[in-house]
Amino acid sequence: MSTQIKLDPMTPVPFAVAKRVQELADTFTIELAPTSTDGFVFQPGQFNMLYAFGVGEVPISISGDPSDPSKLVHTVRNVGAVTDALSKLKKGEQLGVRGPFGSAWPVVEAEGNDVVIVAGGIGLAPLRPAIEHVLANRSKYGRFVVLYGARSPADVLYMKQLQMWRGRLDTYVDVTVDHAGRDWAGNVGVVTRLIGRANFDVHHAKVFICGPELMMRFTIKELSDLGVAKDDIYVSMERNMKCAIGHCGHCQFGGHFICKDGPVFPYARIENLMQVRGL
């Protein structure tokens, strides 16, 4: 009999912190231990609502390996009261989890194509499960490209993992930062400058983008200039999500709810909305 957790979407379930890693000065990863034997099953790109008891809830993408449900992993940037409370949790302490919610990166639909990941800043976290999936099923895909941009070398997320992926002979990884000192041996410049050098088949590629909306817009323009079809581009959107099930309306984006219809959207579906100022 399955013991997989069936969460009530509105009721947080207590999870204990099994491990905490400080990734960057303002960014940390917490690993939560599911209490069921089947673990926590999710699709790459989905998110959970994490509840710091007595403080509040925040939507955080799941950033672990989808093939390993024994660990529920979240990478969090400390930007407010709730994430600050989460950052102070020590091993063994508890938080509440609701989820998983939302749409996923189309990793199965992408089979047979080149897959291009373009991430900026903490946007690499929601893409890591998709990267893990492609790597675990590498023979089903063509050229695999991971492009990542960050503010400075000190802001590069998952540095060791990027190096490990780059060390594989079947994956092209390129990293750039906006500015650096002389001790940085990598690229300096915007992430869009990496796209033209990645040498993927623009007519047979699926591109997954996650980062600040400005970065995603620049990236989409570069991809379009190269000839990548809009239907082959997917983006992960971010808005102020509260209920996570499309009832409260906080995350409404035109006719869509980011929590329910997203966060991952085919670009063609939201192209017009991304051009609307102030939305």
């Binding site: 941009g149 503010r151 041996a185 690229n187």
Partner: protein
């Protein structure tokens, strides 16, 4: 004696010269030199005369601002197929940055004085060359403005 024929072929392989007619390319090749820089070599220094400009065949170079008492601040890296050094076009013809080879870098360089003389005599070639430079400059300006947004900062 400069082997113009060989340099012409190298120029033809660089994306900057894609589609340029052979006559124009051979004229430019008369001012060209095939060069190699080892990792760590400085190709140019801020404030020094900009006597050449460069087409990267392979390798990586860093554009750096010199910071007094500190290591240079890298503001951009350029790679295979890129162009750098248009200070030769803009008076007072001085380098705006330090340029350092990050890896072993192979370039073709064009000598500025030689080039200016040829372009004065051949306005069509001048127009052709400037028409190719402007999109490169526009793209780099666009990239620099993207960097200015500090888009990965906390929002």
């Amino acid at each position: 004696m400069v082997k113009v024929e060989g340099l012409d072929k190298l120029l033809a392989e660089h994306p900057f010269f894609k589609g340029m007619d052979e006559t124009s390319r051979k004229t430019l090749a008369g001012c060209a030199r095939n060069e190699r820089f080892n990792e760590g070599d400085y190709i140019a220094h801020e404030g020094k005369p900009a006597e050449r400009f460069y087409f990267v065949r392979s390798g990586t170079v860093a554009l750096e601002f010199h910071v007094q008492g500190q290591d240079g601040l890298v503001i951009e890296t350029l790679h295979d197929g890129d162009v750098f050094g248009w200070s030769w076009m803009v008076p007072p013809y001085e380098w705006a940055y330090d340029i350092r080879a990050v890896t072993l870098t192979r370039v073709i360089s064009l000598e500025a004085t030689c080039l200016r003389k040829k372009l004065k005599k051949d306005n069509a070639l001048g127009f052709e060359l400037y028409s190719r430079f402007v999109p490169v400059m526009a793209k780099r300006l666009y990239s620099a403005r993207q960097q200015l947004t500090d888009m990965y900062g906390k929002s």
